[in-house]
Symmetry: C2
């Protein structure tokens, strides 16, 4: 037999292999997982609710590569019988009447649903301060933010509280907590994981994503949940590509806003990738206006929230967090043409990126320009600047943890691909992960 505590620090596929090989019982693993949650989560507060007596879904596929490992979902994703708070009690959510396709497909792959995860209110914000459910904390350093809005998802995976966490990503909300917590975070191409049963923020920009401890786990979970990926469906036209890959990196990297520690880790990573024989090509990002695109994305979220939160905003405005009310008030002062212009900006930015990345295996960027910061500090305005571009394009993007010192805060390396090429991006990410060293 194997030590359960050690196993729960490994990735989900290792756990599934241990179960399949008879080195641990499925029920034993789940019980151990619940025990770890019981021990660690009071400090971290990644979960808003944990299952009582979990059991594999009927008809589960025990042969699938994640069978028996545990997953949890961000609390804006429906699970039958559970309320979907989306981080905000003022929404007064009742019990969901069905399970979102994304979660149902993980159960069908034999994974064990284990609970629902803390998040920034209505998925708009990246600190995971949460007055209704309590702040979520970064398991890598006490008192620090896990990022967000899928903060509970990042924290749970980093602390070994589940193997796979589902999150949502509208401007970076899967990748930012992955970077801050030191795990892998993947936002597939638009609608490749179906968004049914997910509380909308901006339907144009919303994506369901996956947080896990390895690219292999992310890939297995993705393949369990998607039915649509063109390059997967066609067998992947580029599997016969030469061994070296071609990555885009920004020219004038010194003009991009990032902290010294992020810059150093990022430059070291691309040097390491180059040293492996892959080619790096500088592309000019100056036509891409980070500030303008961020503001456009935010306005699209805020204006749509004015619609979806109309009822609590009218009936219980004081029950909404102050920062959320401020954003809704800002949008209420905007006009139809302001929103149309924001939409045009977002769509054009996505087109620009899609064309610019043609011929490359991806664009290498930091995931965020900063590491996690103390919960007591304000969030930087440009937190999602490097991530939002992939949402505008509906393109796949992944955050990989960079090697940092044991005491250092995690840093994420982001690889952004082209829409329609999810599987190719995951293959490239697996090779970069190997270059950077296992997590």
């Amino acid at each position: 037999m194997i030590d359960a505590a050690t196993l729960l620090q490994q990735d989900g596929m290792a756990q599934a292999r241990a179960i399949a090989g008879g080195r641990i019982g499925g029920a034993e693993l789940v019980a151990a997982q619940l025990a770890v949650i019981g021990r660690l989560d009071p400090e971290i507060n990644a979960f808003v609710q944990v299952v009582g007596s979990p059991s594999p879904a009927p008809g589960s596929n025990a042969a699938s590569p994640l069978a028996g490992a545990c997953f949890a979902v961000k609390d804006n994703i429906d699970v039958l019988g559970w309320p979907t708070h989306a981080g905000l009690r003022a929404r007064q959510a009742g019990a969901a009447t069905r399970t979102a396709s994304a979660a149902a497909r993980l159960e069908a792959a034999g994974m064990v649903f284990i609970g629902k995860l803390n998040m920034h209110a209505v998925a708009l914000g990246a600190t995971n301060h949460n007055a209704d459910f309590g702040d979520c904390h970064n398991p890598r350093r006490a008192g620090y933010t896990p990022g967000g809005s899928s903060g509970g998802s990042g924290a749970a995976v980093a602390a070994g509280l589940c193997a796979i966490a589902l999150g949502t990503d509208t401007m970076g909300s899967v990748r930012i907590p992955a970077a801050y917590c030191g795990v892998v975070g993947f936002k597939p191409g638009f609608d490749q994981i179906p968004v049914d049963g997910v509380v909308p923020l901006s339907r144009l920009l919303d994506h369901v994503g996956i947080l896990a401890r390895s690219v292999a786990d992310v890939t297995a979970a993705y393949l369990a949940m998607t039915t649509d990926a063109v390059d997967t469906a066609s067998g992947g036209g580029d599997q016969d590509k030469p061994q070296t890959m071609a990555f885009a990196v920004p020219a004038q990297r010194e003009t991009l806003a990032m902290s010294d520690e992020v810059r150093q880790a990022y430059e070291a990573a691309i040097e390491r990738i180059r040293h492996q024989g892959h080619s790096l090509h500088e592309i000019d990002l100056s036509p891409y206006d980070f500030t303008r695109v961020r503001r456009a994305g935010l306005l699209l979220c805020e204006a749509e929230l004015l619609d979806t939160l109309a009822e609590p905003l009218a009936q219980r405005p004081q029950a909404l967090p102050e920062d959320l009310r401020a954003m809704l008030n800002f949008a209420a002062g905007k006009s139809a043409v302001d929103v149309a212009r924001a939409l045009a900006t977002a769509v054009s930015a996505g087109q620009w990126l899609q064309h610019r990345l043609r011929g490359f295996d991806g664009l290498l960027l930091p995931t965020a320009g900063q590491t996690a910061f103390p919960m007591s500090e304000p969030a930087p305005h440009d937190q999602a600047d490097f991530t939002a571009m992939a949402n505008m394009a509906g393109a796949p993007a992944i955050s990989l943890p960079l090697p940092v010192g044991h005491e250092d805060l995690p840093i994420g390396l982001q690889l952004i691909g082209r829409r329609g090429f999810d599987a190719a991006l995951l293959r490239a990410a697996a090779r970069i992960e190997a270059v950077l060293g296992a997590v």
Copy 2:
């Protein structure tokens, strides 16, 4: 040698073969094309401007399958040195400083640019009434609309005034004139033909499309202009599919609004396709609210026009057509949340369609519920109801002319595919074209 007048009624690939085979000189074909325009266009008014002395672009690829044939572009597409009026003199367009990529790529494929085509003002409307450039008429019946907004494109191809016409399609503006004029009209997947150098209407919904006299021509032009198609790039994962195809058709077809003649031709066409051994599967379209989606699409166009037409609207409102002013005034009375809600509706409708068509070679629908109508009659409100769904999904869609009597007005059969599968849709369309009989 070959009779030029006969050749100019054939498709562009036949013309290119005649040139390549020495049966007609390239200059002779162009001269004959200009002569036909000079003879027929005064009645039709498809062109807003014709070249003086056309010549193949330098560096053109004489080996490409359309080399030597003539193309023209809708007047919302930039050509170096020509004004881009977009159907509205109040925009006060100066000479374009570059040629749109779409047109430049056709020139690079050896096609000969021959002029710019009439359109409904700012591409919003489907009659091609045009006070600034004169109405465009349907070459199939005097006094009837060619449809729109790419009315000049449909009329020019139908009358043999060019082999290939570029159009734009935001809710159906390539496919509707193709259907009304009896030619093939293809709207590729989103951004597969680049939109640079195209006057925007709704950047979310805008597509560049192709009108031609055969699916082979459309395919050759598409391949000359796209660089991105996933299923083309990967060699087409479904080329090994079985000989029979599986098409979706709406259940409850009797509830869809269409004229008796359209219904009869449509039902006969799907019966003919079934008779060839292909399978038809009824899908429930009732969750798709045609009226709501149409209104959402219109509001997205109108609100964005409030921005892009701000200058002429403020300075020269009387120079705008009355119907356009009414639409802009309508949008000016809408709020930020109205536009956000319209965006949510459009995006959700597209997702619904994309998921619903999974597993099918396409959805067979009429292109429009009615045939061309007299220019003196008002346009039906639901003209674009069957076409707009493909714009919401960013999905490829094609209109094929159905067999009708020599004196009858043309009717279009529409095949809508899934985003990411342009090449597969074109292959399916070629097989349907063969079933229906050559145009």
